[in-house]
């Protein structure tokens, strides 16, 4: 069991309605420091909606989302604006890639630094010493992250011109640029070929070590999930139906039933 003080995110009774549709129903989960946790479930189970609820894109109908940012008191973040949540230290990627297509790869990442810098309009116009320093740091940090995800060569390309797999990695780097303590990845391997998926596998593990982030991951690629997760939560029709280690999940009859016909064993 993980120590209470190590918890980074605790979600209890999370519920989200869209009109008459209950997309998530009383979901509980938590993540502790240093963990890689996967959230799996069939299409339409409500996984992405969970992400949207805890990152402030939607305001949950009910439940509590509490984050324990390192060094800060625990905070309930239901209904908080998305940008506040990101600056508290929780960053995400999107299932349907949402880069800034007409900006270069480097600029995409630099946006991630926005909430960690404070150059004002006046600073920028007068080009104060602070703005020059911050600009410099932003560029350096962005290049560092680009190198980490293997995109340094294409730093000055428009992000729209990147291949699919590269765009996914760019999204990860952009999220990392916000200096999170918890990184949320929504189907990072979707659309990648096996080779790219294998590299992604290593990348995620490496990111956890180097950047000291915990990772919450939605993924359909079971091999990837089983390989890298410490714990797995399973959802179906908006409800949490199982949780446990990869081994436990693989043998859980309810999970096998939910995935009827799909490959759970890896």
């Amino acid at each position: 069991m993980v120590m209470e003080s190590n918890k980074l995110l605790e979600v209890t009774g999370l519920t989200m309605d869209f009109g008459g549709l209950r997309a998530i129903d009383q979901v509980d989960f938590s993540i502790s420091a240093g963990e890689i946790v996967a959230l799996i479930g069939p299409n339409g189970a409500g996984k992405t909606t969970v992400f949207n609820c805890i990152t402030g894109i939607y305001e949950p109908t009910a439940g509590d989302v509490v984050i324990h940012a390192p060094g800060l008191a625990p905070r309930r973040i239901n209904g908080m604006r998305a940008n506040r949540i990101t600056s508290l230290g929780m960053a995400r990627t999107f299932q349907n890639i949402r880069l800034f297509p007409a900006m270069t790869v480097l600029e995409n990442i630099m946006i991630g630094r926005h909430c960690r810098t404070s150059t004002t309009i006046l600073d920028a116009i007068l080009r104060t010493r602070k703005s020059v320093r911050e600009r410099h740091e932003t560029i350096e940090e962005s290049y560092r992250l680009l190198a980490k995800v293997g995109l340094a060569e294409v730093a000055n390309e428009f992000s729209a011109n990147l291949a699919y797999g590269a765009q996914r990695r760019l999204e990860i780097a952009r999220a990392l640029a916000t200096a999170p303590f918890l990184l949320l990845l929504d189907e990072p391997a979707a659309g990648m070929n096996p080779q790219e998926t294998r590299e992604l596998d290593e990348l995620i593990v490496r990111i956890r070590a180097d950047e000291q982030v915990a990772i919450l991951l939605i993924e359909h690629d079971m091999k990837l999930v089983m390989n890298i997760s410490d714990r797995i939560y399973v959802m179906e029709y908006g409800k949490g139906i199982a949780q446990g280690t990869p081994r436990e999940i693989k043998e859980n009859p309810r999970v096998i039933e939910a995935y009827l016909g799909e490959e759970v064993h890896a």
Binding site: F18, G19, T48, N52, I57, Y58, F94, N96
Partner: protein
């Protein structure tokens, strides 16, 4: 005395509102299907009025008269408005289906400016006297203080049109296809609906309604001008938003509410600020309740 004045205003507002509603239907139908504010819709209405003016002018000057002229003018106006609406969609909007959201809107604004100036150059920038095609009915004499004969025609025609539209949308193939496309264009395409054709049909129907509104309002105000589409368009858009854009009964309700609010504001406060009431209402509704009176708030899928 006071309540009589109020009643007078109320009737005027109702008539005006029913016209707004007719134009608003075109906005709402198009928005429901392709999420575009068809900024040039007001110009289609203006073109309808102009064509009616030209047809009736030609017929009157060649010696015809009476209700046949009105009918013929209205029919030709409807045909032409529909043709312009159809062409507008093909040229200015269809190539931009996949473009970022603001691109078709800018294109629509451009089309609106283009059409206004096209009519101004092809015809005249001046105000033209619209012929009195609707003659006074004798039986309306006692009520003429509140509702003129023209007003009566307007109320009857708009009511009939709206009933026809409801039937069309509820029970015909086109109508069903339109509703399906409105709910989920991708799904509609998958089940074999020709979405392009549905969109064209929407533009044609919306433009026809606008043309009817154009003929009616021109008969009421007795004059037309190439610039009338702008204001009418904005007002009708306000009506559509007021009712909840994309929502057909909402457009009718919004039109009536706007017409009445505007007339009351003009009657009790100041007629110079009539348009300000409409704009003020638009701003208020968008800020306070963007989903409109009858609309449902939907969350964007992420």
């Amino acid at each position: 005395m006071d309540s009589e004045y109020f009643f007078e205003l109320l009737c005027g507002g109702l008539v005006k509102g029913s016209i707004y509603a007719l134009i608003a239907l075109g906005y709402t139908m198009v928005y429901g299907i392709i999420q575009l504010i068809n900024f040039a819709h007001g110009e289609i209405y203006m073109i309808g009025a102009f064509v009616a003016f030209i047809v009736s002018g030609v017929l009157t000057l060649t010696g015809y008269g009476g209700p046949t002229v009105l009918l013929l003018a209205a029919v030709i106006a409807i045909i032409y408005a529909a043709a312009y609406g159809y062409t507008l969609e093909k040229i200015a909007y269809r190539p931009l289906r996949a473009a970022p959201r603001l691109s078709p809107l800018i294109s629509a604004i451009g089309a609106s400016i283009f059409l206004t100036n096209y009519v101004q150059l092809a015809q005249t920038p001046d105000f033209l006297p619209f012929p009195e095609l609707i003659t006074d009915f004798d039986f309306m004499e006692p009520f003429s203080r509140y509702v003129s004969s023209v007003d009566l025609v307007i109320l009857v025609v708009t009511t009939l049109t709206m009933i026809a539209l409801t039937v069309l949308i509820k029970y015909t193939r086109v109508g069903k296809a339109m509703r399906a496309t409105q709910q989920d264009a991708v799904m509609a395409r998958l089940v074999g609906i020709n979405v392009d054709r549905v969109i064209s049909a929407t533009f044609i129907i919306g433009s026809a309604l606008a043309a009817i509104a154009g003929v009616l309002i021109a008969s009421r105000t007795g004059q037309i001008n190439s610039a009338i589409g702008f204001m009418a368009g904005i007002k009708a858009f306000t009506a559509a938003v007021l009712g909840g854009i994309g929502n057909i009964p909402g457009a009718v309700l919004g039109g009536l509410v706007l017409g009445i609010a505007e007339t009351l504001g003009a009657g009790y406060i100041s007629s110079a600020y009539e348009d300000v009431f409409a704009f003020g209402l638009l701003v208020l509704i968008l800020v306070l309740r963007p989903a409109g009176l009858l609309g449902k708030a939907v969350k964007q899928k992420v």
